[in-house]
Subunit: 405 residues, 2 copies
């Protein structure tokens, strides 16, 4: 399943007009024939913009579209990496979502999305199959830390309703920058992945709690979402300077709130975990509690778990393992939690580092440094995928069977 | 709560540049200051489209926006009716969602939305309050009738998890044309409405099942979504003719599938109700089963329930009560189900007809004709609201306390 499949087949004919071989993306609105994906994974887009001067598709760079006599603009772009991609359309300078697709919350707004399909067999683990299905539930709760009502989603396994005396371990699972608590079940297919793993008896039935990384104290207006140029350009030029982008200097306008992470951890322990353990049939103690996240959510998971080993026994970073940048020192990094490798290994039952092979060597290097320092860890590489949801689906699929054993 | 509040205050100053008094819509993406709503319910929009020639807002008609030196287009439009409105932006002929708002599935695509707020006290019944909260769960199931996996959402009341021996009545609740199974909990706030009603002991704890109106037999590609011009214009001009709009002749390309409704009813009885009654702790029999829907979903509810009085004891049409158009004849309409008023009244415990006062007199006339024919019914009018979600929130708030008594 994890074999890189960049089949860059010659496909002259199928790059022009859409043909029967160009299959509408599974994320299109009902009935929309475009965008469609050719057998070589090149993609044809179409947008109606009769009076526009210039229209582009932005997906791994900007691609000019060509106007037809009917006012429909079209473009076929080169073969794409398999998996889920956010993308946008630019109509005379306006950065917008393609009205032909369902939208997906990423980069702080409801963007268009396209799924470049894997071979059907490879995608089976996140497809709806004839197995018992759990459910994903929306849950409101009040946070004392933020002074606001919050919404989380909770996956309960297929037997949760019927096995009414069982208690379940809990995985707290986080989205990435610019996304929200809906990412894991819309972009990530967490429910189908777990249903299939549980049916195959590869993973233990567990609850998965998906909350929103954004947590600020009352009166603060900082937001992780405000920290990027695209929102500035699209909607709020006078609120966020154009330079306020990912990785902007801490403390600057448009930068991440300086205390991001700390407030979330506080909210997690003060509000979220108590609500979950009061509301659901949860197995007690650190051995039944895991945390993982993707990208910024992985960084958050590392911060929270490494600072609170008395509360968690499992940790996963999916394209978001901290420590790989800026120098890792086993004696001092993360307040010295790695200094005594034996003590750490006794507490941390699974330390998981996942990454897409296209994302670079940082996570692999970090894993090797940990290993050198005597820290037991699992390194998982998703072949041929980028900093995107297919990497993270695969990470979850590999991580979930390892925990709560 | 239901008093019309069209306060058309003079507000010269607040119609130009956004001020502190122009409050961002609650449906905006995090941090976006526009669209914002002025105290007089006029609305200011802003879109970045530096190179466009013409930009408009479409909300109750098309409104030209004005380009500023910074490439930001702005418009302030006249006071709007309170409640939730879909709207779109037109950039040089491209009909798109405003990137500044969350999107909402309506008219077959992910459109932008704005909430023109009611006075806080009036909106309390669909606001998150410090009461026990139920949850809305996403549930996958396989349909033999359609040959496909389907997704529904199920509201379970706050005590469902803890009161583990209780069995609950079920309301099947449908969205309108061009919407989907997510409408009632995103646009409709079904969960908060029910949480508040149940906390106040005004409604009985019940399950609410929200499915998708679209149901076609295997091999058919008809879709209720394909039947409208906006999709044609935006994305699929060669699939749906421009004339294929709501109310287009049956059987024509782009028209509703001729058997819409019948397949859904078949699916409901064959697949959905059995799945629900197998999966949840459901109280048995027609006295514990209700069906309601808005607009086209109301028409569907009438079709299904009036044809199957042995299975339902409660029926609600929210802006979608059939019988009001094309002549009502108590002897023959709906296969003569109303012909024997006494027999009908014995079976149908609540027949509810709701409508927004701005929608015209059709439903009221129908209610009066029913009354004249001896058919007991409830007529509910939402003051000052249109064919939109605030009407339907209010309908649910009035309907839910009446059923399962």
């Amino acid at each position: 399943m994890r074999i890189a499949v960049f089949a860059l087949l010659a496909c002259g004919l199928c790059r022009g007009q859409a043909t029967d071989e160009c299959k509408p993306s599974s994320l299109n609105i009902p009935g929309a024939p475009y965008p469609c994906v050719h057998p070589d994974r090149s993609v044809t887009f179409r947008v109606s913009a009769p009076d526009a001067q210039k229209v582009q598709v932005r997906l791994g760079g900007a691609h000019d579209m060509t106007r037809g006599a009917d006012g429909l603009w079209m473009a076929t772009i080169p073969p794409q990496v398999i998996g889920f991609h956010y993308y946008s359309i630019v109509v005379d300078g306006a950065v917008i979502a393609d009205p032909a697709t369902r939208t997906f919350f990423g980069s702080g707004w409801d963007n268009s999305g396209i799924e470049i399909p894997e071979p059907e067999a490879d995608a089976a683990y996140y497809s709806a199959k004839d197995v018992p299905h759990g459910q994903v539930s929306q849950r409101w709760y009040y946070s004392k830390v933020t002074g606001k009502w919050r919404r989380c989603y909770v996956y309960t396994p297929p037997d949760y309703e019927t096995n009414s005396r069982a208690r379940y371990p809990v995985l707290y699972l986080l989205h990435g920058w610019g996304e929200n608590e809906q990412g894991w079940h819309t972009q990530g297919h967490v429910d189908l992945i777990m249903d299939n793993l549980i049916a195959a008896q590869k993973a233990k039935p567990m609850l998965i709690v998906m909350d929103n990384l954004n947590a600020v104290k009352p009166g603060e207006d900082a937001s992780l979402y405000a920290a990027r140029g695209i929102i500035a350009r699209a909607t709020m030029a006078d609120v966020v300077p154009a330079g306020g982008g990912r990785g902007a200097p801490a403390g600057g306008r448009g930068a991440f709130p300086t205390n991001w992470g700390a407030v979330f951890t506080d909210m997690l322990f003060t509000d979220l975990i108590p609500m979950v353990e009061r509301t659901y049939r949860v197995a007690p103690g650190r051995d039944n509690r895991a945390m993982a996240g993707l990208s910024m959510g992985g960084m958050q998971s590392f911060m929270t778990v490494l600072g609170n080993l008395d509360r968690f026994a499992y940790l996963g970073g999916f394209s978001g393992s901290s420590g790989g940048r800026g120098g890792f020192d086993p004696k001092t990094s993360n307040n010295g939690v790695f200094a005594d490798a034996d003590a750490f290994n006794k507490k941390m039952k699974v330390l998981f580092l996942g990454i897409g092979s296209v994302e670079g060597p940082g996570t692999k290097n970090f894993s090797e440094e940990l290993t050198k320092a005597g820290i037991r860890n699992v390194y998982f590489e998703s072949a041929g995928t980028a900093h995107e949801w297919l990497t993270w689906r695969r990470c979850l699929y590999d991580f979930a069977p390892r925990i709560f054993k």
